[in-house]
């Protein structure tokens, strides 16, 4: 009888916690990514400003020299600088014919047009040459002398690239750590929730006294376990109280009834009256037995305790055989189709009581010429038991409460009964985990009981 549900449910629980953990890891990672991006932008801006400042200083120096001795001084200074070039600067001075006067290059870079004749660095532009980015100013000094002053942006690019690598590495570490931490905490949460789920499953299968072993921890899981335990204790106590109460009721009512019956048997000469009284007493006892059976079956509902493998087909045939002559004597057409060998986990006597109630009802309410039918067949993972008749059926207004205690139709007051039969049928069916259905019929009454099939492994 192990259900396929728990592993799936556990898996879902695990996924819920895992989802939460992943979400948190993602949130932390995104936040750190934002912070790092901000820093990246800041570094980029500051370094570009530094390069710009260097360029401005260079141009300032050249401007001062040009003020003093024009091209000659400029040429000397550039020659001097080119000799000590570090590769981080690009300098070029040409004459009006494009001949090299001084510089780190020999040729004017293609595609660059000199603009203006001043030494301001404000309109510096970026361009790419020799596989590097440069921040440059190109001028044509009075007299047609093109001048190019540029600063390499390589240090900036190198630093930013290193920064990007660092950020990527940090992001990966962040995601990895978040994922690992999330997985670990999800696993621990899942394990503790799983324990409680397992307990609930055991209780649902009837093990009312199942409890979690060991100490309760001080956290909210421990509190949850404590609450679940308190709840189970209460259910178990109520169940015990119901059992005790039904025994006490039986004892307290049957003992005086017994004395009455003993005294009744001593009365002589009034046979008819005493036998009528005895029949009344028997009826009263049947009624409260049924009430006790109903409450006991309801208290035991869902608990597998006391149920054993029972040959449902055999019980059905036996009870049918018991009632068939009664139906025939009443002029009813009795038909039974019972598939042999269908087994359930059940209580032989309770199942017999269900059938006895249903068939007895059918015979009681039908009149000569009516049909009474019993079918038992396999249907998917259930055994379908159907008791039907072509009698008067249930009055429409009674259908909703047919399974409630003491429900009787006004028109049936003349027929012996106490209105507990169907209530007992429902309680016993529920005790066995069977489903009841009242299919619509063209006339008469039909009741279907879908019994859970006994697994072959049981």
């Amino acid at each position: 009888m192990t259900l396929a549900r728990p592993p799936i449910r556990l898996f879902l629980a695990a996924r819920a916690t895992l989802r939460l953990a992943a979400l948190m890891a993602l949130a932390v990672t995104l936040l750190s990514l934002g912070a790092m991006m901000l820093q990246y932008r800041l570094v980029e801006t500051r370094m570009m400003e530094a390069q710009q400042a260097l360029l401005t200083a260079d141009l300032g120096g050249f401007a001062a020299l040009y003020e003093q001795r024009r091209i000659i001084a400029l040429r000397q200074a550039i020659e001097y600088r080119a000799a000590a070039a570090t590769g981080d600067e690009m300098l070029l001075l040409q004459d009006r014919n494009g001949t090299l006067l001084a510089g780190t290059l020999t040729e004017w870079p293609v595609g660059l047009a000199p603009v203006g004749a001043d030494f301001a660095a404000a309109d510096a532009f970026e361009f790419t040459s020799l596989g590097k980015r440069w921040l440059a100013v190109a001028r044509e000094l009075p007299g047609g002398f093109p001048l190019l002053v540029a600063r390499s942006l390589q240090p900036v690019d190198d630093t930013l690239a290193a920064l990007r690598r660092g950020i990527l590495g940090l992001l990966a570490a962040c995601l990895g750590a978040g994922g690992l931490f999330g997985w670990l905490s999800a696993r621990s949460v899942m394990g503790r929730i799983g324990r409680i789920n397992d307990l609930a499953d055991r209780v649902a299968e009837g093990e009312l006294d199942a409890r979690l072993p060991g100490e309760r921890s001080a956290d909210e899981f421990g509190l949850l376990e404590t609450h679940v335990h308190a709840m189970l204790d209460r259910i178990q106590n109520l169940n015990r109280a119901t059992h005790r109460l039904s025994d006490t009721i039986a004892h307290e009512l049957r003992t005086p009834l017994n004395r009455m019956l003993q005294k009744l048997s001593k009365i002589e000469g009034q046979e008819a009256l005493t036998s009528e009284l005895k029949a009344e007493m028997r009826q009263a006892i049947r009624m409260f037995d049924s009430l006790l059976d109903i409450s006991r079956a309801e208290a035991d509902q869902g608990t597998g305790g006391g149920l054993v493998p029972v040959d449902l087909s055999a019980v059905a045939s036996e009870v049918w055989e018991l009632y068939e002559p009664l139906a025939e004597d009443k002029g009813l057409i009795a038909e039974a189709r019972v598939t042999p060998g269908l087994r359930v986990l059940g209580d032989h006597n309770l199942i017999a009581q269900v059938l006895s109630n249903l068939i007895d009802n059918a015979i009681k309410y039908c009149s000569a010429g009516d049909r009474v039918m019993l079918d038992l067949s396999e249907q998917g993972d259930r055994h379908l038991m159907r008791v039907a008749d072509t009698g008067p059926g249930l009055p429409e207004d009674l259908k909703a409460e047919a399974f409630e205690r003491f429900t009787r139709a006004e028109r049936d007051r003349g027929i012996k009964g106490h209105g507990l039969g169907l209530a007992l049928v429902r309680a016993i069916a529920a005790r066995h985990g069977a489903r009841l259905a009242m299919p619509a019929t063209e006339g008469g009454f039909a009741l279907e009981i879908h019994w859970p099939r006994l697994q072959h492994s049981d």
């Binding site: 039986a250 049957r254 017994n258 049947r286 059976d293 002559p325 009681k364």
Partner: protein, 232 residues
Amino acid sequence: MGMDERILIVEDDAETAAAVRAEVEALGCSVDHCDTLEAGVAAAISTPYKVIVLDRMLPGGDGVEAMARIRAGGSTALILILSALGRAANRVEGLEKGADDYLPKPFEPDELRARLRALLRRGTMQVLDNDLLAFGDLEIRMKARTVHVKRAHVAVSPKEFELITYFARNAGQVVTRMQLLENVWNLHFDPGTNVVDVHVGRLRRKLEDAGSPAIQTARGEGYIFFPKVTAG
């Protein structure tokens, strides 16, 4: 059933005990009575009783739970549980735990008498191990599961055969409807309708048609199987 047969009553309700005592004495047996479980168990172990009539909700505990102690003490008495715990589930529980019979309260004196007789006979009765049970011109063959009256075959259903063998085993004694339902149909609840009557009626007619009025009604009590052994 002589005066040498002793029966123990363990019952705390004085009136019930008196009623049981009256029935037992009517059967010609001697009676001891205890009104607590402890006294009952002690008596059951120290004296060889034929039958013990045992209540369940006694001062000192449940009679059903005490059966194991009585058996362990060496008693071979047959135990009849007589209890207010009379629902089908209680009866099945009592029988499964080793009771030889279980009668719910309130009980009719006739019912108790029939059951006590059946228990008293059980020890002395010839077990039905022989294939042929002959009651004059009525013959029951156990292996072939056939019934013959005056050498003519009487067709009976399997249930009717079980019914007639139960009657035969208790020949000469009143058998109640409740006993038949319990022993032939293995049903331990009161179906409310006298379904048993229909079955006994059919078997009875079959036997009568064949010329054997073996089954008779014991008014108010049940049935009695009383074939005329000397007929022929």
